[in-house]
């Protein structure tokens, strides 16, 4: 791009095959497109939020092959052939996931903007077995910034789901 000056030099594109929330998609994308922008702008999945676009806030957290990633730091092209789960994939039938339910019950949200990322991160954290204590939850949820300051309630929500999981 540096030596452009021609209109045609806007950035090349690639075809990317993604499985998102169980459905396959073949997308032709500007190479500069992040996974986050691909989800939001090409698949209309706006549940994943852009808080900083620099990997610092966690609002865009999704699962790629089961692992949590900040989707603003990943190019969509890097996800070719991989499986992505977003907040929309957590409750496809409209029935809240236990983590979502617990967030509502414990008021683990205020403006709600960081919430999809918090929820995805919490779901992954439980799967990672990192919810053994409040201290552990706090530490492993610290990649998800909540400017409204709902942290104590987020911890309470995760603690409750972890306790239910342990009881099962």
């Amino acid at each position: 791009m540096r030596d452009s000056g021609k209109r045609a030099e806007g950035g090349r594109s690639s075809t990317v095959s993604l499985t998102v929330n169980g459905s396959g998609h073949d997308l032709t994308l500007d190479n500069r497109t992040t996974l986050l922008d691909a989800l939001r702008e090409h698949l209309a999945l706006t549940g994943s939020k852009k808080g900083c676009d620099q990997g610092a806030c966690g609002a865009c957290t999704v699962l790629v092959d089961g692992r949590r990633v900040v989707s603003c730091l990943m190019l969509a092209a890097q996800c070719d052939g991989r499986e992505v789960t977003t907040i929309e994939g957590l409750s496809p039938d409209g029935v809240l996931h236990p983590v979502q339910e617990a967030f509502v019950r414990h008021d683990g949200l205020q403006c709600g903007y960081c919430t999809p990322g918090q929820v995805m991160s919490a779901v992954a954290l439980l799967a990672e077995g990192r919810a053994g204590s409040d201290q552990e939850i706090r530490e492993f949820m610290s990649g998800n910034v909540c400017r409204c300051g709902a942290y104590p309630n987020i911890v309470a929500a995760i603690r409750e789901v972890a306790a239910c999981d342990a009881a099962v």
């Binding site: 452009s4 000056g5 209109r7 045609a8 030099e9 806007g10 950035g11 500007d30 500069r32 497109t33 922008d37 939001r40 702008e41 209309a44 999945l45 706006t46 549940g47 939020k49 852009k50 808080g51 900083c52 676009d53 620099q54 610092a56 806030c57 609002a59 977003t86 907040i87 929309e88 409750s91 809240l96 979502q100 339910e101 967030f103 509502v104 008021d107 949200l109 205020q110 403006c111 709600g112 903007y113 960081c114 919430t115 999809p116 929820v119 706090r138 949820m141 610290s142 990649g143 998800n144 910034v145 909540c146 400017r147 409204c148 300051g149 709902a150 942290y151 104590p152 309630n153 987020i154």
Partner: protein, 781 residues
């Protein structure tokens, strides 16, 4: 109908946030989630100097990029009108009107392209040549112009100077706070669409009607031809109280390309584009008797502001007469720091005054407890110092000077439970276990400190309108054009309507975030619940009244001839208060009268006492004892804001300087708490903001260029989960009689006092009195 009878099934601690479900599903649509057919994307180019002017702008390469639709600069933007005069929320300077630059980050161009990526890439190709002036960037710069009494609310009573001269004990200190950036997590976004000469915008705002007024003025439209939608806002904290240039630019871009345009600020742009908490400096002296009775307070606060609209490039603005500049065209938000000083304690001699210094910095904005948080930090820190000087417990010192009446006017408070805040807080925290000796409490290598602070918060209420409809199916729809920035407005208004109408919460829908709805004030000043809640209450009472009017001579109605005092509303039914069998449902009434629905409009207004307190305080300031007599003769009551007490345990590693907050107890008199779950969240959130202010947050400006050097969320530190301990939130006090629903605002008070309590805890632990925020590691080594 009395409130005691309208049994609060709708109220109570357990009601979940009604907007919780869409938010956890990712289904709440914020402005940045809005996509319209044919929508283009805009990106901004910002100035890289803080003062001077643009000499040359080369846009050719950018304009030539694939997908670029237009590049707008001051050379082709056309004339934009300045927004209407507004004292509290001065409209922004019309963007891209000339070559002058008055801060680093000022917009110099906007690019519109088919995609976000194309617009962002093209923005990097704009080349700007500047003629750079020497910027004025710090409060203590000799070239900075300082204005005294800029807001006309300097206050005094008695003679502080004379009292100081003979006082037994005097403490003094200079306190500073750093600029902070609101950083709501949702980047502010505007989506603008024109239909002929009418404009619709989706906007991140706390003040939609103000945005509407500014856009209408900018483009020469009638306000009715502008519609602002903001049903979900990704946080505000004050950044959304003013209107900002990017909103105007989005509308301008949409008009130029004749397509809808989305303009979403980047995180770095959020540091210069939507305001910041200004830096402040305070000089404070407190004098007392040996036994702890305050005799004088002298408080001077200085805050920084941008150069404003008529920014000259080489020199700071001329020293216009302050009144003239205030009346002519306020161009910065008032930011008084000492406004609460005269109301905090019973002290016979007080002098409180403010100053404003203009710098080459981006415009400021009120940020959660603007001025109150800074002023409280100084006063509550210095009172702590005084308590050591006197060898007196800090709570006892505050109780010794408890303001039984509003001390500046001498008028009674509408309600005040600050004493309970202290006693309940001390009990829950275990204050009695505190060894007052500095450095005496340890836990292993950690020094342990207990600190506390008191809070007196101001009251605010503005005019507000609402509309309520009951449908034949027994549901209700209530609405007003307010915003819910995460505070719980959707939920609390649903509850307040359900309470009056006697409906279950799930039969009431509350709608907001649209300027086509009745006009509401900003979500700010901790005043929306009071204003909107009162409007919703009054409107729903009027709706019940209307229903009763409908059946007033209806022979088939058991409610025939009933007045509102005769009935209660319960489970969708109006019934006689003394015989519940005699009543009928809204559905039955509407059905029999062939109506599908019934709608009324209503409103609420602040009492005359609201403005009277400020006027009264100033009258006492000017006329002394005579003024006090005059004000006293009004027999008015002072509408009270919230009161609070903070108790904090800090831990300091003396070798590393690491400071951790171990636990916090926050007790607040918030009047009647409509929804304890959500009110608690507000206090928790405020407390977390207070932790940020106390130990993390500082917007760092490069001293040469004026560039914000830490404009990312990795460099600008805000509290993360691991920084926040358990926070014990307690509410005391009862319904405040100053408004029909008995509430006081809880949006901001939670933040106030946290910084002082932490600083006081740090002193208790270490013996180091930190008078400069944030308290970072370097200050503790």
């Amino acid at each position: 109908m009395t409130m005691a009878e309208a049994v609060p099934a709708a109220l109570g601690p357990g009601v979940d946030r009604v907007d919780g479900r869409p938010k956890v599903l990712g289904a709440a649509h914020y402005p940045s989630d809005v996509t319209l057919p044919g929508m283009a994307h805009a990106a901004l180019v910002r100035s890289t100097i803080a003062a001077g002017s643009i000499v040359r702008l080369d846009t050719a390469r950018a304009a030539d990029m694939l997908g670029v639709l237009t590049v707008i600069t001051h050379e082709n933007a056309g004339r934009l009108q300045k927004g209407k005069r507004n004292l509290f929320f001065p409209p922004p300077a019309a963007p891209l009107q000339d070559a002058r630059i008055s801060y680093h980050g000022q917009y110099v161009a906007v690019i519109v392209a088919e995609t976000r990526q194309q617009a962002a890439a093209a923005a990097r190709l704009i080349e700007v040549t500047y003629d750079r002036d020497e910027p004025v960037l710090t409060l203590d710069d000799a070239a900075a112009s300082s204005q005294s009494n800029p807001y006309f609310i300097d206050m005094k009573r008695g003679d502080a100077k004379a009292a100081m001269a003979t006082a037994e004990v005097t403490v003094e200190g200079t306190f500073t706070t750093s600029p902070e950036t609101h950083n709501p997590l949702g980047p502010f976004t505007t989506v603008a669409q024109w239909h002929g000469d009418t404009l619709t915008v989706y906007d991140s705002t706390q003040n939609p009607f103000h945005v509407r007024a500014v856009l209408a003025a900018s483009f020469g439209l009638a306000e009715d031809d502008v519609r602002v939608l903001s049903p979900y806002v990704g946080g505000g904290f004050g950044a959304g109280l003013r209107s900002w240039p990017h909103t105007i630019l989005a509308a301008l871009a949409a008009r130029v390309v004749a397509r809808p345009v989305q303009l979403s600020l980047t995180r770095p742009e959020m540091f210069t584009g939507v305001g910041h908490r200004p830096s402040t400096m305070q000089r404070l002296t407190i004098a007392a008797t040996r036994d702890g009775k305050l005799v004088a307070i002298d408080h001077e606060g200085t805050s920084t502001a941008s150069m404003g609209h008529e920014a000259p490039t080489r020199k700071p603005p001329t020293r216009k007469a302050p009144l003239q500049s205030l009346l002519k065209a306020p161009d910065e938000q008032p930011y008084p720091i000492t406004a609460g000083t005269a109301a905090a304690y019973a002290c016979p001699n007080v002098a409180a005054r403010d100053k404003r210094v203009r710098l080459n910095i981006a415009p400021i904005a009120h940020m959660r407890a603007p001025g109150e948080a800074e002023g409280n930090f100084a006063i509550e820190s210095l009172l702590d110092e005084l308590s050591y000087e006197l060898g007196m417990d800090p709570i006892d010192l505050r109780l010794r000077n408890y303001a039984e009446v509003q001390p500046q006017t001498g008028l009674p408070w509408s309600s005040k439970a600050l004493r309970e805040c202290y006693t309940v807080g001390a009990e829950r925290f275990g204050w009695a276990q505190r060894d007052p000796t500095v450095g005496a409490m340890r836990d292993g290598r950690w020094l342990v400190g207990y600190g506390m602070a008191g809070v007196t918060f101001n009251h605010y209420q503005a005019k507000c309108h609402a509309r309520a409809t009951v449908h034949r199916d027994g549901t209700a729809h209530v609405c007003s054009g307010a915003t819910d920035i995460g505070t719980g407005t959707y939920t609390v208004m649903t509850q307040l309507a359900a309470e009056v109408l006697g409906l279950p919460v799930d039969r009431v829908e509350f709608e907001l975030g649209d300027t086509r709805l009745p006009q509401a004030p900003q979500a700010g000043g901790s005043g929306l619940t009071t204003a909107l809640g009162s409007a919703v209450h009054n409107t729903c009472v009027a709706l019940v009244q209307r229903v009763l009017t409908l059946v007033s001579d209806d022979a088939d109605s058991p409610l025939r001839g009933c007045t509102i005092e005769d009935v209660v509303a319960h489970q969708g039914r109006l019934q006689h208060a003394d015989d519940e069998s005699r009543g009928e449902t809204y559905s039955e009434i509407l059905g029999r009268h062939g109506l599908s629905e019934l709608t009324v409009d209503g409103d609420s207004a602040p009492s005359r006492a609201e403005a009277g307190v400020i006027v009264g305080s100033l009258v006492v300031s000017r006329l002394g004892r005579f003024g006090r007599k005059l004000v006293g003769a009004s027999h008015a009551t002072v509408p009270a804001g919230g009161f609070g007490a903070r108790f904090v345990e800090v831990r300091v590693d003396p070798e590393l300087g690491v400071l951790r907050i171990a636990r916090i107890v926050s007790v607040n008199d918030a009047g009647r708490v409509v929804n304890e779950k959500l009110a608690r969240s507000q206090i928790i959130g405020g407390t977390v903001g207070g932790i940020g202010m106390a130990i993390f947050e500082e917007t760092v400006r490069d001293p040469d260029s004026g560039r914000v050097a830490n404009a990312t969320l990795s460099d600008y530190l805000i509290p993360v989960n691991a920084d926040v301990p358990d926070i014990d939130v307690v509410f005391v006090g009862g319904p405040d009689p100053a408004n029909p629903i008995g509430v006081k605002g809880v949006g901001e008070i939670g933040l106030v006092g946290v910084a002082a309590a932490i600083a006081n805890g740090v002193y208790h632990a270490t013996g180091r009195r930190i008078r400069s925020l944030p308290i970072t590691i370097d200050k503790l080594l």
